[in-house]
Amino acid sequence: MISASDVSHAVTALLECDVRSSGTNTQQNDHTLGQEDISPFLDEEEDEERALVESFNVAYDALNPNGSTSLSFGGNFGGDHEDGDFSTIVNGGDSAGSGLGSGIRLAIAMQKAVISTAVSLVERKAINRLSHFRYAYLNATSNGANGSNQYSNESSKEKQMHIFAKPLALTRLAHFLMDMHRANEKWTGARALPLVLLAEKPQTQSYLIAGFEFPETQGSMVKNEFKQRFENAAISMDGHIKFDSFDSNIVEVKSELANRFIESLHYLIDSS
């Protein structure tokens, strides 16, 4: 038995985890993209793109309601095959054969990473408060320290993608942080401020910056105004900023500019 939320978690995890970090299917990788000639773009981006196509295919297959298109590497990357497989035994075996079973294990690992990272941010007091928003850096080097590399440490360090350099994972982390502080009432009233997270992308030497509004009550939504704020900040910096994401609250900034970006964001909101 699988619930919709299970599937959603699993598919998201499959989408956002670098499938190849398991090191199982590099050949398949070439195969999937083989038919179209992709001329040298930027190397890192190309790599990222391939990873995306790869994980997209896995996730797409995992969604197959028939569960029959099992992929060969189904159980290879969330750790031990035997470990998490009780769902298979009980539920008839299909879900672990498909990508979904591994997706679920990945999702659990992801969730643990989210929680441990959030906790470490709080305990290290790494969330800085400005007068209009909070911000925190998530550096890839802190990856090992907070135990978030459960499944990605198999790959070499420079290849490693920071797990929070993916928008959905970053979103989850942000919302967990906000839940946390809503529950302990530290961020209420005048201290209820939007949150900006900066996640390092070692591959492209940049930061993924995402802005989140802080809804006072859980489950409600506040319209996100970071699109405009980011744009204004980018304008004031003569624009070295990539507005590439389809989510308007996410931008990518070169590492050396990240600090300045935050500064100009602050001053802009301050002056407006």
Partner: protein
Amino acid sequence: MLLQQDNWRLGYHQIISDCRPSATSPGGTVLILCNPDADALCAARILSYAFRADKIPYQLRPCGGFARLKYILQKLHLNPLQRMQNAEDDEEDEMQMIQDYMASSATVRTVILLNLGGMHNLQRELFEPSSMEVDGVRTAVPALLHMDLTKVFILDSHRPYHLNNVHSGSNIVLWNDYDHWHLATGGVPSDGDDLSGNEDSSDDDEDDDDDEDSVEDSSKDGSDHDSEEEEAEFGDDESTSQKDDESNAAAVDTKKDDDVSGTDADDESDQDTVDPSSSKRRPGDVSSPSKSKRQRSDPNTPDTELDSEAESDSESTSSNREVSQPPLSQMSMGMRERHQDRKDRIKKYYASGSFHSSPVAFMTYTLLAEQLRHRSIGDLLWLACVGVTDAFIHNRLDISGYVKLACMLQEHVENIYPSSANDKLRGFASVDGMKIAMSQNGKIVTQKDELRFFLLRHTSLFEAMILSPDLNTRMELWRTSGMKKLRELLASMGLPLSQCQQPYAFMKPALKRKLKEEVMIHEEVCCCIQSFDDLCIFFDVFLTCHFPSYRNSTFRISVILHFFASADTNP
């Protein structure tokens, strides 16, 4: 253009007629570009089902960013002019190129964007030629897509739309849902549509380059013939579905065509978001060039203004924005005032912040189930459930929106599986949630009172509780004191720790049954204990779909829908 929910099928029929081989055309393929999130993936699966059923070839690709979108389109050489210009500039070949291009059945005639693109200025980026500067030499780059050949359909839950997409004629079609449930929650500024204030915009056309306009115009002339049919089709429908008391729909359509170019350029100047320089230009430039343009566009003015009024008028009833009557009062308003007014409205439209509408998987399912013939297909419904749940999990839907969609999905479930098992389930759910196990194969079952623990069925209860964001943050399980409280809680519920650390599937059934009752009870108990007071283990309405698979590859789907008024425990 916006395609309101009642007319979604028209968009789909347009795709079919473009891509299906016929006596006059060899047909074409559909390119589906999909944002990497679970919701869009579900939508892609649902949509591809329809295409398979209609024997429309399609290709599906992920697309993670706007640069990537352009890159993919460029690589596919969707605009025959691209090739031509690469080879040699021979304008006479153009028609020939287009004909050759059309002759191939592998031609991409339709691009569908799932959960992406609605906020970008697609009209400009995809359909208008750009220029590139290499080594100081400016070379013109032909547009990525050809107006006559390719249409872009957008299913995007990101809001607000870029107004340029909304008013860009029939080449960009947004399947729009929002009067549907967003209005009720007040989530959408109803002005979104008219903010466009299209026609005013045709007055204050951009100072940019006139050649751009003329190029577009010429291409437009060429396209007129082609697009007339479908324009008429859309137009007709509008006129029937919405009361248009004035001129016939056809006239409006042609007028619309006229304005399109103007709108684009204007919105570009006002709203360009990505390019800082052009946004900077915004404040100063508008008034003077607009005047000159106004004179230029004089012949059009009567028509367009009428139309524009119509559009701004429809503010009150956002649904019939495309065709309605101009109020005389506004006609008499000064140009400058109106212009200012329009600018303000546009500003408000964008400044109110971004948000999400209903999940695209749900929209796609609605299209297929309610407007096409794929009415009772459990698999598709399941995918819609996953999409909605995903949107909720990732905070793209708030609770009330989720409740509404979940209820609608539940109705669908009951329509598809009207069996007694479902009824029985609803009767007994509160007593025994495990009744779902008794349902038939291939069934989606809704259930109340689902525990909102993280992946409960795939871990142990203990771990699921720790990983659940709600419980974790509320009980501060990341502190040792919180863990201690959790153990106490479990103990007071009478659940042995050893059992809780078992995989949930292996937990004693009696304990599982007990769990829910205990949680209910302890929620009240918890009120006395500090920090338990607003413990919300049950969620208001939380939809889960159970989708078990049997060894014989028939399977059972169950949607679990549960209600609990959690907020009341903590007044």
